[in-house]
Structures are given as structure tokens and as C-alpha cells.
Amino acid sequence: MFDFLDLEQYDLFGAFWTTVQLTVYSAIGSLIWGTLLAAMRVSPVPIMRAFGTAYVNLLRNTPLTLVIVACSQGLYFTMGVSMGASGSENIAFRLAVLGFIVYTSTFVCEALRSGINTVPVGQAEAARALGLNFSQVLRLVVLPQAFRAVVAPLANVLIALTKNTTVAATIGVAEAALLMRDMIEREAQLIPIAAVFAFGFIVLTLPTGLLLGWVSKRVAVKR
């Protein structure tokens, strides 16, 4: 039943490796941009708060497929922005990573903000009462506690991101879902193929969840 696994034309590991790469680059980018967005949303400057809020609300409400397609269709195919890459494979990969960052960062931002919300008011007040300024309050007191509270929600964002990389298939990034579509098209053995890919994703996501769940308990701030 699983004889298609032997076929040399299907590079199963290569495809999942691309999935992993997509996930890793997007995760790093989302973390950075998401943190900046979160800082904007709690900053003293009204325009930044407004921008952060608008950005998050718009992007969160848009289907990921459209975000990815917009990167490909709008940014590259229309405006010719290839982000320094050459070769269609590379360009598509980078566009996909960009799209994932643009989208996933909103969830990172919200997770961080909720993490900030788990820090009791008194912590920030005590810090201000000592004479720390905004950035010191944020850096020395609030964020260190927020980040610890936020490992578990961020783990969920990471898992969702891993699964979401399947959407990159729409713009031709050769990751797992594209290969799956290919194999379904040609092998006509849908159930075993889908089973193999489901298993692949479980292998990727379950350990991530367990590991980060464990980490979140380890670093949790005791109050």
C-alpha cells in the first residue's frame, strides 16, 4: 500500500526539510517583528499604538492564503521585488517566508501582549516608583516576566506556523504539501499518502509542543 514511498522521484525528506526551513526562518522573523509590534502596541506614542492595532487587526482577519498570494502576486510578479534572491525556487521561498512573517507576527504580538497582561500591575508600578523609565520598566521588569509566561502560547503559534507552511504550496514552494499534491495527482492513492504526510506533521509538531510545554513550566515565574 505504501509502495510509492520507494519511488525515487518523490523526495519526501527534502520536502519536509523545506517545511522545517520555512518554519524556522518564519519563526525567527515573526518573533522579531511580532515583538516590535507588541512594543508599539504598549508604547506611549499614540500613532504607534494605532498602527500596531490596525496592522494586527487587518492581518489577523485575512486568510493566510491571501497574504501569501499577495506577496507573490503583488510584491514579486507585479512590483518585481525579489528580495535579493534569484531562481524561482528561492524567490518563492523568500516570498513565502515574508508572508508567514507578516501574518504570524500578529499572533506573536498578541501572545506577547497577553504575556504582558499576566504581569501584575504592581510590578510596573513598583518599577516606576523606583524611578525607572518606560524602556527600563519594559526591559528590566515587565518583558522578562512576560516572556516566561508566554512560552506556552508562543509554542502554539509555532505549531500553527509549522502547519501553516502548507499554504506555501500555493505559490510553488516545494514543501511537504506541494509534494503531497503532486503525489495525489499522480499516484491516486489518497489515503496512504495523506497518512504519511499526517504522520510527518505529527513528528514535527508533537515534540515541539511537549518540549516547549516543559520549558514553559520550568521558566514560569513563581508568584
Binding site: V69, F77, T78, I91, I171, L178, R181, D182, L190
Partner: protein, 246 residues
Amino acid sequence: GGGGDDDKISVGIKYDQPGLGLKTPDGDFVGFDVDVATYIAGELGYEPDQIDFVESPSGDRETMLDRGDVDFIVASYSITDERKEQVDFAGPYFVAHQDLLIRDGESVPNEEAIADLTLCSVGGSTSAANLAEQYPGAGLEELGTYSECLTGLENETVDALTTDDSILAGYAAQEQNQGKFTLAGLSLSDEYYGVGIPKGETERRDDINAAITKMVDDGAWQEAVDEHFGPAGHEVEPAPELTETS
């Protein structure tokens, strides 16, 4: 009949391929495949208003036939050996060739030149796979739909869109695109479009084959070709020999 209703017939077509099968703003279906399907259904004794057109996405076609969701499929369905293990075909009713769609005024002199081009096709399609195999040097963007490829072609981020010439001609013939694109006229492969039918329905196959023959003979076939591919200025080969006979 698959739809359950005896006085109706369900036919699988594509909804999103200009020239072959396209759902128009009026909710009607137009295209060469649609005409062929309508003609065949007529020969089988069904009036046009008794036909249920059903969208049959590429990945779903075998299943739909297998389950009897549709009576037959006319959806740029290339006859291949793998597919013949699961379904039967009638026809072929059309021979298409993989070709390139390029901006009007440009040209691709020969097949070797393809290796220097950046092309675009739909992910997972036979044409994409073909190209990757034959011209590993060529750039290939694999997108979700051909109209997304057109954006790139229009804005010069890709040099050509590649798939079956029938589909390309359909796009080139669209009102908004007339005068913008042209076919390169290469013939990178032969795709024999068949009418997909559930396995083992030999009687149905004979009837459909007869209908196809009749359509070619009475000129309706040529009329449909002219209507749908003509505006693109695309030369279509005469109807192929029937090969899928019992």
C-alpha cells in the same frame, strides 16, 4: 446515471479554464469541453437543460468516476497509463500540445531557447512536471492558477506561461487579453484528451465514441474549435483517431 435522477446526466468539467470550461458571470458554462460534453450528452439522449455540469478538480476526477458522482468527464483529461488503471476513457476527442504563451511581439525560436527562460505554470500540473524534467535549467514558477501566472507574464517577471496549447489559446482569446499574448507554437508534448468514464462501462464508451465521431463528421467539432480557439489565432490539428475502443 450518477446524479440519481434518471432524466438528468451529470458531466464533470472544469470551471476555471477559459476556452475549455469556464463559469461565466452569467452562471453559464462555455468552452470547447463544454460543447463536446453537450454534444455527447445530446447523442446520449439528453437535452442541454438536462445536463448537470459539475466541477471536477484535477485531483478528484478518478474518485468522482469511481463513485459514480458523474456519468462522464470532459475536463482536459489527458489519457495516461496510470489513469487507465483506475478509469476508462473514450476518445480522444482532441490532441493538445504543451506550448508557451508569451507576450505579443516576442518569440521563442526553438525548444533549446526554453532553457534560458523563466516560465510559469500551475503547481502539480503535468506540464510543470514535464518542463522540470526536460529543461532542468529553465526557471519555473509554480502558482495556484494560470491567471496568477498571467500577472507575472503581463508584468514581465516571467517570460512565458506553459501548459497545453488549448488552455493557452483560451486565455489568449479572452476579451481583456486580446492582443497582449500569443502562443509560441512549440509542441513540447502530445496530450490526448479523453472522455473519462467509470471503469468497465464499455457500452457507454462505444456510445461516446460514436458521438465524438459524429461530432467531427458533421462539422460541429470544427465549429467549436473555431469559436473557442480561433480568436487566439491558434492553429488546431484535426481531430485525432479514436484509440480508446473496446
